[in-house]
Amino acid sequence: MDEIIAESPAAGEDVPSAEQMLGLEPTEKPRSMFRRGLEVFLENRLAVVAFGVLVLYLVLCFLGPLVYHGNTSHVQMDEITLPPGPSHPLGTDQNGVDELGKLMKAGQISLEIGIASGVLASVIGMLYGAIAGYVGGWIDAVMMRAIDALLSIPLIFGLIYLASTVGRTKTVFIMVIALTSWFSLTRLTRGDTLTIKVRDYVAACRMMGGRSPRIIFRHILPNTIGTTIVNTSLSIANSVFALSVLSYIGLGLQAPNDDWGGMFANGSSYLDQNYWWMIYPPGVSIVLIIISCNFIGDALRDAFETRLQKR
């Protein structure tokens, strides 16, 4: 109900006056979709903070190691399980490895795989949905039934299955996570496509000899890009989650290359010894990234979803 009220244009705002419409006064140049979107996004304080957190983590993980040189490679038996102190800001683990250095290194892997598979999932989902919606008929029906089937396999079971059968490298994880998380975007894009493909400009393009790929890439996909942008942000959150789940249950990347999930799993096996510094930094990092991406996604939805566009 909120949305319906919000959608109707507010009185006296942005409505061109009679002079403007008659061309007596120069009209303002229409603002671009991204410009408008950015304004809406910046109004959302929570999203700006979330974006800040994300940037901070990117800086910490990718630029941090240039400044901070903790021992992340060799076993140091005289420094094992030290609590946080001046020489080790986040303490050390059971091998005497510096936790802050490890957090940065693991963060690189979490973020790289998370972002890469999030983006890949969006591209797959967008293309699949647009093609299914555009082609229609029985091909569409088969393509969507296949998705129903894949959706009914609980995500984690699918992930465990693929991770254990295909092998475990960074590329494999990017592919596996992307391949199990593109379904929701496909449904949304297909829905958008169904309404766009019957518009006059698509008919006009076809009449002028525009072929299907041109129609899909030049006319349909640009009109669904809002949904895709929103979904990419949510899908990055899901990918970070999926990767950490796999690592947590021991099916992630192997020890020296583990991500935050692996660090968290390792730390939580020392739960009874109360080594909290091995558990909470990676755990909180995962939670913060997931929450940030979700907030950013919500704000982007307000900013770019054409269906909810306020102005």
Binding site: M1, R145, A146, D148, A149, L150, L151, S152, I153, P154, L155, I156, F157, G158, I160, Y161, L162, A163, S164, T165, A237, F241, S244, V245, Y248, I249, G250, L251, F264, S268, L271, D272, N274, W276, I279, G283, I286, V287, I290, I291, N294
Partner: protein, 315 residues
């Protein structure tokens, strides 16, 4: 209604069929992987070839699939687990009880808590109560199950010793006789579940409150309480049925992690340990089982939705 029932059931059967092809396909994309996993350190080309032949992996895939499907449908035979030295179907029956127990309890408490919370939020819309619950549900929704589980374990078992750490819960009997060991796993799943469900309940209530029949009822002089609980709540509960059906995969997936955290040997831990030792037969079996449960869940949800809401178009 009958046509809808038949149509919807047929659709589910087709879905299960596709799932079976997909899982079977995944397993047999690399037949060598299976043999290599079984032989482990004793791998050599001759043994591998013999085993491949013995398992029928050298025959065309569609024949393998037909044989596998035949054994599955007519004998409930999912193959043999070489790490547990047991039939996969027996393994599943042994471990199913405790998993269903956790999932069932969690679902029960999730609905029990989220319905009143959603009603409360909808009736106190845009007040402090509403915003507070909203904030908590956002956090509860975003915090991964495994993190929440470990935090709860840390708080209640390690820091304050409120609940003793027990040996592994290995059977349904253990789960039933040690109810205190079920509190934390169920709480972990319920917190995550309530966060999502109460949001849906809130918006379902708000959707119904604005309907014309509510205005009519109020105009006729019905009390607020009667309108709210006699009319609005009953109608708002209907979409929840679909939600329960749709959220089954998430719940089952969450249960898998919770089993791992709280040392409960159910379907989840069975799957994880089998996957870690390349015992694909078990993984295939449990994946298929959960998929079928999910499909049945959404089928039941759709049918009861159609039965309860006369406005649903049965096409």
């Amino acid at each position: 209604m009958t046509t809808y029932l038949i149509r919807r059931t047929l659709q589910s059967i087709i879905t299960v069929f596709i799932v079976s092809i997909a899982t079977f396909g995944m397993m047999h994309l690399m037949p060598n992987g299976i043999v290599r996993g079984m032989l482990g350190q004793h791998y050599d080309a001759q043994k591998a070839a013999a085993l491949t032949h013995q398992l029928g992996l050298d025959r065309p895939v569609y024949i393998q699939y037909a044989k596998w499907l035949d054994r599955l449908v007519f004998h409930f035979d999912l193959g043999y687990s070489w790490t547990y030295h047991q039939n996969v179907s027996d393994l599943i029956t042994e471990n199913l009880g405790q998993s269903i127990y956790i999932v069932g309890l969690s679902l029960f408490f999730t609905i029990l808590f989220s319905v009143p919370l959603g009603v409360l939020q909808a009736t106190r819309r845009n007040t402090i109560t509403d915003y507070t619950i909203t904030t908590f549900s956002f956090i509860g929704y975003a915090v991964p199950v495994f993190f929440l589980g470990v935090v709860l374990r840390d708080l209640f078992q390690v820091q304050f010793h409120l609940i003793p750490t027990a040996a592994q819960i290995a059977s349904f009997h253990d789960a039933f006789t040690q109810p205190e060991q079920m509190i934390l796993p169920v709480a972990t799943l319920v917190i995550g579940g309530v966060a999502g469900y109460s949001r849906y309940m809130r918006s379902a209530m708000l959707d119904e409150i604005t309907q014309d029949y509510v205005r009519t009822a109020i105009a006729k002089g019905a009390t607020k309480r009667r309108v709210l609980y006699g009319h609005v709540l009953r109608n708002a509960m209907i979409p929840m049925i679909t939600l329960v059906g749709l959220s089954l995969p998430t719940l089952v997936g969450g249960a898998l992690l919770v089993e791992q955290i709280f040392n409960i040997h159910g379907i989840g831990v069975l799957t994880i340990s089998a996957a870690l030792s390349n015992d694909f037969g078990v993984v295939l079996g449990t994946t298929l089982l959960t998929a079928i449960v999910t499909v049945i869940g959404s089928l039941v949800a759709d049918i009861s939705y159609a039965a309860l809401d006369p406005r649903v178009r049965l096409t």
